[in-house]
Symmetry: C2
Subunit: 379 residues, 2 copies
């Protein structure tokens, strides 16, 4: 048996990539493999083997304008282009190469996130800021589940995180965080770019957050699921305000009951939290004003939205345990967030906290916010 | 409220991609968007905007040698490179561009699969062969779950498919298919490249397959999970036969009990099936010979492996309900599969079926095999 297994292994090795599809990921006979990105001492080096390219640039989230032309890489005699930076502050940075004008992924880096239709390589610089962004020792379960929305006329996908130990404790009731993405995102945005499963795993393992279920729906009323699935679009364009309201109705009248029926969820306002970024922050605000008694924890992130004194009074009456508003001080919505802060302060909203961070409308802030407010929920 | 939502939307639109990370997926002011790939009439056209590139090639799974240099694309006056083919036979084809020697994804195509560290665009040509590869109407749940392996000394991730209706029927017991990937793959290979969830969703919806749980573990004894998670490697190199045996032991002594404890699984040999491709076919054969009474359905795919007359006799005694061996007739393991067929036929294995397909060691065959044998299980 062992001998024949070895023969099979040898055959597999000999066959190489030419005819063996599952083997295309191996480095048969291609010589020592390059490393990119390489964190070494106080610097990071990026490399791309591109002997026939004329100009290779690199764009990265550490640059002042990552969406610009980028910085030139330098070609060595071996045909390998290199670019070295001083190690930036701890964070997850996305980056890409531009080969003769065409955006290209780093083929040497398996660490990838999806942003809409873009697959972007990541550089994780270790440090205190990122200590909860990598894999914890114990892992919750991340599921893609489908629910039926009569309001939107679609069978829709959502991502559900259940904490470590959930399945082994069927009688335990867990609190639920509803975590909403922004425009351009989908039901995988928080788990891919937001590192939600890693952040919750780490916080729960350290005893810094309560074990909780986290539900990440698709916030685009015209989508059944991420466009990567190729499903036909529904009829409700997200840019129309009345359709965003339909989504908020589906969230509160369909998704919340679906979760509370199908998971070991503690179906009390004190055990429900809602948080969302940008457009999802708008959803959060609207859900809190249309359904003031539903969520005791309300966290709009990098968002502006309309609230009246009456809305604040209704929320106070319902008994909000935490109203946590966060924004970056260079965000284009900063003034809108300050306006909302003013309404909440003038109405003397109970348990109101305003969290100001550096920077703008970016995932580095949204990961920071989740890592911060998740420690304040359900306590 | 509506008015302020519109203001926020306008702000978001004005801000554009420069500072708004969640918006990077939009096409603000970039003019009419190109389409690639475009299926139209009897042809498919691929397009890439690359005005500064010198040579752009395309490689695709419809070519005789997709791993070669590919075919040249042609540059139009607008800087867009094009390549048109007659629509190939219905199948899912992966493809990529090579821009001045550098492999590049098609930025216009959101339909992507992951093969190890490679993200590859897909072209799905509709037809009878592929009718179960797209999304069904009703969807099962796909989860990433973790189990502890004492044998391998790792906390390991596996992918679990539960069929539509599973959660609503907690008292129903479901049969379980253990579906194993090949060398170079991981616990997402079957759900990404193999379209396992779509195939099972469609077959179950059409009444062609029994509703079943499908467990897709990571078959590399040195991996806790796909390398995309960046976890440190374990100590057991997959290339050593004794380590492959350790994995098979973990599968049968740890994963099967874990699934049967944590899911509504029917824990009888008649309700257990095992199938695997290439290296996973080797695992399938070894699991069946080391644990002959465990699985009543055994399906090695594109695999060769050692079996003795005694092994066959033991399986016959245990009462196998289906032994389904499949291979492509140009596979480099074709002769090995024929050798195994001979041993099984000489031992007069009960319920033995040999399935010969065209082609070689490729995912188009493995999807076809799953779509075929899944209809024969648990009946």
């Amino acid at each position: 048996m062992k001998k024949l297994f070895s023969i099979v292994a040898t055959l597999l090795l000999m066959a190489g990539a030419a005819s063996a599809q599952e083997l295309s990921n191996f480095n048969f006979g291609r010589g020592p493999q390059l490393v990119s990105p390489e964190l070494k001492g106080d610097s990071v080096t990026f490399r791309l083997n591109a002997n026939y390219a004329t100009v290779v640039n690199i764009c990265g989230a550490w640059m002042e304008n990552p969406w610009g032309a980028g910085e030139p890489m330098h070609k060595g005699l071996n045909g390998v282009w290199e670019y070295t930076i001083a190690t930036p502050a701890p964070e997850i940075y996305t980056y890409w190469f531009v080969v003769d004008g065409v955006k290209t992924a780093d083929p040497l880096n398996v660490f990838v996130q999806r942003d809409g239709s873009n697959y972007l390589n990541m550089l994780l610089v270790p440090g205190e800021r990122t200590e909860n962004y990598g894999e914890a020792t114990k892992h919750g379960t991340v599921s893609h589940r489908w629910y039926t929305s009569s309001i939107l006329g679609l069978n829709r996908r959502l991502t559900v995180y259940t904490p470590y130990g959930y399945e082994e404790n069927p009688k335990k009731k867990y609190p639920v965080l509803y975590l909403l993405h922004g425009a351009g995102g989908d039901e995988e945005a928080w788990s891919s770019m937001g590192r939600a499963a890693q952040i919750l795993d780490n916080l729960i393992e350290k005893g810094l957050a309560e074990p909780m279920i986290c539900v990440m729906p698709n916030g685009n009323p015209n989508q059944a699921a991420a466009q990567t699935l190729g499903l036909p679009q529904g009829e409700f364009d997200w840019r129309k305000p009345e359709n965003r309201t339909l989504y908020v109705r589906s969230l509160c009248e369909e998704i919340v009951p679906f979760i509370e029926k199908n998971y070991h969820a503690d179906a009390k306002p004190a055990k429900r939290a809602i948080a969302g970024l940008s457009m999802g922050g708008g959803h959060t605000i609207q859900a809190s004003t249309l359904y003031p008694a539903m969520f005791d924890y309300i966290c709009p992130l990098s968002a502006a939205g309309a609230m009246t004194a009456e809305d604040v009074a209704k929320l106070k009456k319902a008994g909000v345990k935490l109203y946590w508003l966060a924004c970056g001080n260079t965000d284009f919505l900063w003034q809108g967030a300050l306006d909302l802060k003013k309404v909440l302060e003038e109405g003397q909203m109970d348990n109101f906290e305003f969290y100001e961070s550096e920077g703008g409308h970016v995932w580095s802030n949204w990961r920071l916010y989740l890592n911060t407010f998740a420690q304040k929920l359900f306590k």
